[in-house]
Subunit: 629 residues, 2 copies
C-alpha cells in the first residue's frame, strides 16, 4: 500500500518519569518523533529551548505540542483571553521548535454550539499561528461539549478555510463512540489531515472520559479496529506521522524504556497489518504457520530433576532419551515431549538460579524458522542461540517478555528430528505408548502490568489472537484471564494476572519471582480413562460441585458418578461441545498439569470451573516426593 | 425509629478465603447471620450439613442461600428443568438449615417478557418450597433481561400471590439505576419483603454489571444514598436482617477478619444514621463536635528528634516545652503544636521501631472525649490509654486503621490545658509569635486496598464526610485521592493511594512500611510573607509552571513574580476563591510540610498543582541535617 511506512511518534504522556526520561526512552526504542504533552513540560525544571536541544541530540522530531484545551466558541471576555493564551503557547512552541499545536474540542459548559463561531475563532488562531510559521490542528474529543465526531471537526476546519489549520484524527475518540472513518478518503484531502494519533483499548462499557484516561493501550493490545482506522487515514492520502497517545495507569507506572519498546513494536506490527501478508511491500516477514508445541523445557538441578521425573512417571510419562552432550533428559508420552535440563552453566541453569524449577523454554513448530526469527528481530525482540555440541542441530530462539526462550523448530526440515540428532533415544521410546495426544495449552501467570505487553508480543511475533478478557474467582481474589490462540488452535496460551498476591496466580508469581508457565494442559481422547490408569496425584474436587453439575446440566447419574470418581470437571458450550478435564496438584506449589478431553469442537478452557479448581488448589498440599531410604 | 436495630448479616462473597474462613470472620466481627453464596458452597470440600453445624457452633444464622439464577419465564423444556433444579437446591437448603432462597431476575436471551408467566413459575416454585417448609424471595437484578426494577419484581410477586414468596430488595440494584424506594411503604406490606441486601458504591459511569461485580463497597464507603434506601425499607415495616452483599476486588483479596469488621462497622454506623443523632433510641453516642487538630505527635529517637527539631526551626517553630516525666518535646508556632516523642519503651518508641520517624498520633479537639470514646468503642474500634506520670492529664485515644493513635482532647474542659498540666513550658512559649494559624489539613498515604476502610472509619467515628475521588498525576503513576473533612472544615484529611510503588505516595508507604501521615499543611494569612521570612528548604517549582499560570489565569506580572520568587503554587476556584501554597522538601524522603493561604472561602487543596508538586518531589533531594563537626 505504501512504499515506506509513515514516521512513528509517541506522546510523552504514554511513558513514566521526567520529560528527559521519556524522551530518552522514546529515542532508544527507535521512535522518530515525540508529542510533547504540556503537563510534562510544565513540570520540567528547565527552559523549552533545552528540550529542543535534547530532542535534536536524540534525533527526535517534536511532532506536536498538546493539548490546547477549551479554545473555540467561547463568549467574551474568554474569547479574547484565549487568543492571548494561544500567543503565549506559540512562544513556547517556537522555543521548543515544533510548528504544530493540537486544539481539542471545547468541553466547557460556557462553550457555544455555533460551528460558524468555532470556525471563525480557529481561523483567527490559525492566522496568528501562520504569522509565526506555525500551524494548528483541531481534534474532536469524544466528550467534547458540542463537537465530538470527526465530521463535525472537519466541517469546522473546512469552514475556517485557512492553510495553517488542519484536522487531527485520534483512533480512540472515533472508535470509542462506535464511529468509523468511512467516507474520510472522499471528503478530506490528505494534506488537510494535520496529524493522526493512535490508541487501542479493551472494550469496556464505561463513560468514555474515564475509559480514555485510564485504559487506553497500544495498537494490537486492545479490542478496537485500529487497523481499519489507519487504513482509512492512508486511503485519504495522509502522509504525516502515526503517533501513539495512550493514557494507561499501568504504563505510567512501568519502566519507560519497556513501554516505549512495546509502543514501537505495536506500530511496526500495524505497518505489517496495513500492508497485508501477501503484499510485497510488507515491511515484515509473514508470521510463522504454527504446528503446535514440539516440547517444553524445564530448568531443574539434579535433585529437582529426579523429583520432577518421578512426578511425570506417575502421570504416565517415560524417560525416552538422554542428550548427547548435556545433562538433559527427554520425557515423552504419546505426542508430548518434556525436556528436563539440569546442565550446569547453561541458560537453563541461569533460569533455575533465578526462578527455581520452572519452564525455561517452549518450542513451537513453525513452517520456516529463519523467517520467524527475522520477523521477531524486526519487531524489536531479542533472539538467542545455545552453544552446540558436535553434530547437534541449531535451534534459533526468541526471548519472550518473561525472559524464557521460545525455540523455533521446523519439523521435517531435514530427515532427522531434533530428537534423533541431539539425543540418545532409548529403545522403543519413539513408540512410547500413552493416551496423550499433544500439548493442548500452556497457561502463563503474569505479574500486574504485564498483560498488554504479553498480548502484543504473541500477537505480533506469532500471530496468536487474543480472546476477550474474563474474570476468574480465586478464593483470595479475582484473576483476570485472556486466552490467546493461533487461527488453527494448535497453539493456545491463556494469560492470567491477579492484583492479589494470595491467589493461585499471585502465589506462583511470588514463588518464581516473575512471570512464567503456570500450568500445561495435555489433550487426551478419554480423560476418564487417563486418570483411571495413572498414579498421578490429582486435585480433589468436592462433592458439592457434582451436586450442582447435576442441577445445571441434567447429566445422567452414571456420567456424574464417573466424573466424581475421577475428580473430573465438566463444561458444555452453547453448541453442545463438551469439555472434560482434571488437574494434578502442584509440583512444589509451583506449576501443575491438566489433562483435557475436547468433544464436538469445544474451543474454550472450562472457565466456569476455574473457581472450583482454584479453591481446591488453595486447600491442596503440593506434591512432594516420597522420602528416600 | 426502631427500638432495636435489625439483625445484621453478611454474604460470604464479601470475604476472602474458604467458606469456613469466611464464616469464622463473620462471627468474630459480631454478625448474627451469613448469606451463603452458592459458589462458596460448591468449592467447599464437605457436606452442607457440616456447614450447618459450624454455623450453629459460631452462633450464626444462615439467613439465605443465593443466588438461584435464570429461573422464571423460560420456554419448555428449560422450564421443567428449572423446576428440577429448584428441587435439588431445596435439598441443599434443607441440609444447610436455611429456609430462604434468593431468585434473581432472569438474564437469559431466551427468557420471555411475560410477567404473568414469571408469576406462575414463581408460584409453582413457592408451592414446592412451601411443601418443605421453605420460602422463595424474588429480586430484580439491575441488568435483568426483562425485570430490573423493584416495582416490576413486586408486580410479579403480587400476581403470584403465594405466602411462601416474597420480594427481595438490594440497594445497589435500585440505586445504581437512579431509582429510589419512593412509594414502597404504601405499596408493599412489610411482611412481604423477604430480605434486604445492602451495598454502597462509588459513582462510576460504567456498565452496571461490571460496576456491581467489582466496585461495590460497604454502606458509608461509597456515594450512593444508602441511608435513604434503608429508611424506606423500615418505613414499609420490614423487620428482617439487613445483609451486606458486596462484590469488591480488593475486599476479596484482603484478610477476611478486617473486611468483616469493616462490614459490621458500616451497619452499626447505618443504624445511627437511621436513628438520627437527636432521636433518643439512637444506638450510638453522637459523633464529636470537632474543634481542629490540637497537636501532631512524631515518633523519633534522640538523633532523629534533633534533626526534626532543626527542620522545624528552619520553618519558624520554637521549642516551647519539655514533658514533665518523659523525653517528649513540644514545638510550637502560632496555633500549631507539634510533639516530638523519643521516650524509650513508650507507644511512640514501638511505632518508631516499626516505621521510623513518622507521625504516631494526632490529637483532635472534641466537645466530649468520653462520648467520642464510647462511640468509637461501639463502632468496634480499639482504644488506648498511655501510662501517666504524677498529676498528668489522661488523654483517651482511638486507634486508627493505620495503627496510629487519635487522641481526644477537650480544650478548656478544666482550667489548665494539657500543655500546662503535662509540660514544663518555656518562658514566653505560650505567646510564641508566628505566622501559622492552625493545622489546615493532614494528608495520609495509604497502601492499596485501604481507602474504603479509612473512609468508613473517619466517617463513622468522627463524622468526617468524604469528597468524590479524584486522580492526581505523579510522574511515576496515578495517585487516587479522596479528601475528608468535618462539616465546619476544622479537620481536613486528604487520603491518597497509588497502585504504583514509585509515586510519592507509593514511596512513602514503602519507606514507612505502612500507611501514615504523608504531609501536614499549616494555614497562614500570608504565604508569600511566610516563605520569605523562613529559612526552610522549600520545594523548587519550575519556571514553565508560571508561564502556564499566566496563560491560564491572566495574573498580573507582579503577582506572578512574587509567586515564582517564593516557589508558591496558585489556584482559583469557580467562585473566585484563591489558594496560595508552598511545600517543603521531604524530611528524609518521608513526610513533608505545606503552608497554605486560603482566600475568599477557597475550600479545596489545589489539586491542579499536584502534578507539578509531585514532579518536583521526584527531582528534589530530601532534607538532611548539616554535618556536625
Amino acid at each position: 500500500m505504501l512504499e515506506t511506512p509513515l514516521p512513528k511518534s509517541i506522546a510523552t504522556v504514554c511513558l513514566s518519569g521526567s520529560l528527559p526520561d521519556k524522551m530518552e526512552a522514546a529515542a532508544s526504542a527507535g521512535f522518530q518523533g515525540v508529542e510533547i504533552f504540556e503537563q510534562d513540560l510544565l513540570t520540567h525544571d528547565g527552559p523549552p529551548e533545552g528540550i529542543r536541544a535534547m530532542a535534536e541530540d536524540l534525533g527526535l522530531a517534536i511532532t506536536i505540542f498538546q493539548p490546547f484545551r477549551d479554545f473555540e466558541a467561547m463568549p467574551e471576555p474568554q474569547r479574547r483571553r484565549n487568543m492571548d493564551r494561544a500567543e503565549r503557547k506559540f512562544d513556547v512552541m517556537q522555543a521548543l521548535g515544533t510548528d504544530l499545536v493540537l486544539v481539542c474540542s471545547n468541553v466547557q459548559p460556557a462553550a457555544m454550539d455555533d460551528p460558524a463561531r468555532a470556525a471563525a475563532d480557529l481561523r483567527e488562531m490559525a492566522e496568528r499561528a501562520a504569522a509565526r510559521g506555525l500551524r494548528v490542528g483541531y481534534e474532536a474529543l469524544a466528550w467534547g461539549r458540542h463537537v465530538n465526531r470527526w465530521r463535525q471537526a472537519w466541517d469546522i476546519v473546512r469552514r475556517a478555510d485557512h492553510r495553517a489549520l488542519g484536522l487531527i484524527l485520534d483512533s480512540f475518540h472515533t472508535l470509542s463512540l462506535g464511529d468509523t472513518l468511512d467516507g474520510l478518503a472522499g471528503e478530506v484531502p490528505g494534506d488537510r489531515i494535520a496529524f493522526v494519533q493512535l490508541a487501542d483499548a479493551p472494550r469496556l462499557s464505561m463513560d468514555v472520559l474515564s475509559w480514555s484516561r485510564h485504559f487506553r493501550d497500544f495498537p494490537g493490545q486492545g479490542e478496537l479496529p485500529i487497523a481499519e482506522f489507519a487504513r482509512e487515514v492512508l486511503r485519504a492520502g495522509y502522509r504525516g506521522p502515526l503517533s501513539l497517545e495512550v493514557f494507561n495507569d499501568e504504563f505510567r507506572a512501568a519502566p519507560a524504556r519497556r513501554i516505549a519498546r512495546d509502543g514501537h513494536r505495536s506500530l511496526i506490527w500495524l505497518d505489517s497489518v496495513l500492508a497485508g501478508p501477501s503484499v510485497p511491500a510488507s515491511p515484515l516477514p509473514a508470521p510463522p504457520v504454527l504446528g503446535g508445541v514440539e516440547f517444553l523445557e524445564f530448568a531443574v538441578d539434579e535433585a529437582k530433576g529426579r523429583e520432577l521425573g518421578g512426578f511425570l512417571s506417575n502421570l504416565g510419562f517415560r524417560l525416552a532419551g538422554q542428550h548427547r552432550s548435556k545433562s538433559v533428559e527427554l520425557w515423552r508420552q504419546g505426542g508430548v515431549n518434556l525436556v528436563l535440563n539440569s546442565e550446569p552453566d547453561s541458560a537453563a541453569a541461569g533460569h533455575f538460579e533465578l526462578h527455581g524449577a520452572s519452564v525455561c523454554a517452549t518450542a513451537l513448530r513453525v513452517d520456516d524458522a529463519t523467517r520467524a526469527l527475522s520477523r521477531a528481530e524486526a519487531l524489536l525482540c531479542s533472539t538467542w542461540r545455545e552453544r552446540l555440541g558436535e553434530g547437534e542441530r541449531p535451534i534459533p530462539a526468541v526471548r519472550a517478555p518473561d525472559g524464557t526462550l521460545i525455540y523455533l523448530v521446523e519439523p521435517g526440515a531435514e530427515g532427522r528430528s531434533i530428537w534423533e540428532s541431539d539425543f540418545h533415544l532409548l529403545p522403543g521410546a519413539a513408540e512410547a505408548p500413552g493416551a496423550l495426544e499433544r500439548v493442548d495449552h500452556v497457561a502463563h501467570a503474569l505479574a500486574q502490568g504485564q498483560m498488554e505487553g504479553f498480548v502484543l508480543f504473541h500477537r505480533a511475533v506469532f500471530g496468536l489472537e487474543p480472546a476477550p478478557p474474563m474474570d476468574l474467582p480465586d478464593p483470595q481474589g479475582l484473576v483476570q484471564s485472556r486466552a490467546m490462540a493461533d487461527p488453527s488452535g494448535r497453539v493456545r496460551m491463556p494469560l492470567n494476572v491477579s492484583e492479589s498476591r494470595q491467589t493461585a496466580t499471585g502465589r506462583f508469581v511470588s514463588a518464581i519471582a516473575g512471570a512464567g508457565v503456570h500450568h500445561v494442559a495435555f489433550s487426551t481422547p478419554d480423560a476418564a480413562a487417563f486418570v483411571a490408569g495413572r498414579a498421578a496425584p490429582m486435585l480433589t474436587i468436592p462433592g458439592n460441585y457434582y451436586e450442582d453439575l447435576a442441577a445445571r446440566f441434567g447429566l445422567d447419574d452414571r456420567l456424574l458418578a464417573d466424573l466424581e470418581r475421577g475428580h473430573l470437571l465438566y463444561d458444555r458450550d452453547a453448541r453442545g461441545g463438551e469439555f472434560v478435564h482434571a488437574y494434578t496438584v502442584s509440583f512444589e506449589d509451583r506449576f501443575f498439569f491438566e489433562v483435557v478431553e475436547r468433544r464436538a469442537g469445544y474451543a474454550d478452557y472450562g472457565a466456569a470451573n476455574a473457581g472450583v479448581r482454584m479453591a481446591a488448589q488453595a486447600r491442596a498440599r503440593p506434591w512432594l516426593p516420597a522420602p528416600r531410604d
